[in-house]
């Protein structure tokens, strides 16, 4: 096991803890950049989708994982981003590159409107209010056809970049890849600076955070706005990718999907958001492959996919509440300390008492 002597506080804030980490990430980057050249259109498309969900999952993780505020209506921010891009490009005819940042700001602005109830509520109350917000946005999409196309939806073309057309899946993949990398860096910067520490402090104890001089209202507002911005950008990238958006794309199922990503990947971790987004996006592909191995009377059922999906959520929470990233850390730790690893090293402390549980 490596021990590092830290000589100043700034060393805690480094982008990479060890110099050697840069090699791993470098290899990953090279792999991602050459991916479309050998993987073919189908997998490139799927990975692009996963990348878009990475951005949304990162945003949700800032809100839910780091700040501890549950949002069950995140698909609404996603929808606002997607429809902003749809409206600006298809109906008004502006450039995608103007519409995309606006999509983020529109979603962030709407997120600001949720702050009034969000500041006073927590836990289940907040979850239900955000769920209601999701339903309200759904209804607005249906009832405002001048902007959203109503139930008919909107057709959105892939953008162009100067003389370059981004029509092919591979070229759009590179656009998304660059934006994902930017957002991962942005998240890393938020998390490792004072704002990120304030978010975690608010999650762990509001009273303690407040007495350390953290302005609760400001920090919570920032979390909501940042999270909305991420989801808006993700939505803005999502719309041109699938070319068509309708109200069906942004239901509560989609909100649950986003939360499942961060749970399965790992709460309050950047790696976790990315693992989760990739795993859940490609899950339907895995299920399709795995189906052939099962007897026909089971795999031919209509609800098979939903059942497997529900089962995966339940199994993860029962057996690996820290998510894929948590499992990765455990395995890594096992090898680092090889002969002395004990089963209980990562055992979670459970709180049975109500008095212990009120923060």
């Amino acid at each position: 096991m490596k021990f590092k002597l830290k000589k100043s506080y700034m060393e805690d804030l480094k982008l990479f803890e060890y110099k050697s980490d840069m090699v791993g990430y470098g290899v990953l980057l090279v792999f991602l950049f050459i991916f479309p050249s050998w993987a073919g259109n189908y997998w490139t498309y799927n990975l692009t989708l996963a990348g878009i969900y990475c951005i949304a999952a990162l945003g949700l993780n800032i809100l839910t994982g780091y700040t501890g505020m549950i949002s069950l209506g995140h698909a609404a921010f996603f929808a606002i981003g997607a429809y902003t891009v749809g409206y600006m490009t298809t109906i008004l005819g502006h450039s995608f590159w103007i519409a995309l940042p606006l999509a983020g700001f529109a979603a962030a602005f709407v997120g600001l409107s949720l702050v009034l109830p969000a500041l006073r509520l927590s836990g289940i109350y907040l979850a239900i209010v955000t769920m209601g917000f999701g339903f309200i946005i759904d209804q607005v999409i249906l009832e405002w056809p001048e902007v959203t196309g109503g139930a008919n939806g909107l057709l959105i073309n892939r953008p162009t970049l100067g003389p370059l057309s981004l029509n092919s899946d591979a070229s759009y993949y590179y656009v998304v890849l660059v934006i994902v990398i930017l957002f991962v860096l942005l998240t890393k910067n938020i998390v490792r600076t004072s704002l990120g520490r304030a978010l975690v402090a608010v999650r762990d104890s509001e009273v303690a955070a407040q007495s350390m001089g953290i302005p609760l209202a400001k920090v919570k507002t920032q979390a909501f706005v940042i999270s909305g911005f991420y989801a808006g950008i993700a939505g803005g990238l999502f719309a041109p990718l699938i070319n068509f958006i309708g109200p069906d794309n942004f239901t509560i199922i989609e909100s649950i999907n986003l939360i499942v990503m961060i749970i399965v990947g790992g709460l309050a971790s950047i790696h976790g958001s990315i693992f989760g987004a990739i795993f859940i996006t490609l899950l339907s592909e895995f299920i399709r492959v795995g189906k052939d191995a099962l007897p026909a009377f089971l795999s031919q059922q209509v609800g098979f996919q939903g059942a497997v999906y529900g089962l995966i959520i339940m199994l993860f929470i029962l057996f690996e509440p820290m998510g894929i990233y948590g499992r990765y850390l455990k395995i890594k730790y096992l090898f680092q300390v090889f002969p002395i690893y004990r089963k209980d090293t990562f055992r979670r402390e459970r709180k049975f008492q109500k008095a212990q549980r009120t923060r």
């Binding site: 109350y125 209601g132 209804q139 509560i252 059922q301 959520i313 339940m314 929470i317 029962l318």
Partner: protein, 288 residues
Amino acid sequence: MFWHLFISGMALGCVYALIALGFVLIYKATEVINFAQGEFMMVGAFVAFSLIHFAHIPFWITVILTLLIMGAFGVLLDRLVMRFLVGEPAFSLVMFTIGLALFLRSVAGMIWSTDTFAFPSPVSGEAIQLGSVAIAPGDMLVVGATAMLVLLLYLFFRFTNLGIALQATSQNQFAAYLMGINVEGMFSVVWALSAMVAAVAGILLAPTLFLHKDMGFIGLKAFPAAVLGGFGSIPGAIVGGLIIGISENLAGGFLPPWVKDIFAYLVLIAVLIVRPEGLFGIHEKKKV
């Protein structure tokens, strides 16, 4: 028109109230927020439907059998799964029950197909005239049965040993344990109880609405009801359910039609901005 909408809204509100009651019972005792409550209701309605339709058992015996089956379902769920999750963070529990809801819905689709069925109504006949208002017998049954059930639950919690033990468990698990109450057994009882309440809601709702694997989505409307009343308060759940049901029905009659579906949430947000702990909720002081 107003009173007609009011009465049918009350019937709808009673169903919301029953589902909300199920949430609150489980939440108070085990601190699990059960997103699968609507799915419990759906399963209960389907079990009753199968008993009537395929086994040709008379309606009232079916009700008793359904309650027993759902009670057993609740106990099994607790013993096999939920018991291992006590003390996990609330967020994991919410996600777990959402997963459970997805799973139950899909499995129900496999067993009972994705068709919509007509559930036979136990009462029939003419609407009863009360002044200028006509009351459908179905609505009367829903309101009456809910009132009965609430009364029974009140008596159960107030006067039986089991009920008092349940109250003690939900107030302070550790103190209840020290008093010799089988706390883990109480968890099973409360899961059974709330599955049974959900089954009653399903049997009452299915004849007036429809019977479909997706009917559990109505549980999402019962959440605003429970939160409106203050999560964790039994009278709050009932009042909240009635407020949501009645105001939603009135909104459907007097406002543009699309407002109806989201009206529950608009009411909820308006109330929570003024009273963040809900109507009957207690503001818990935070300890550091």
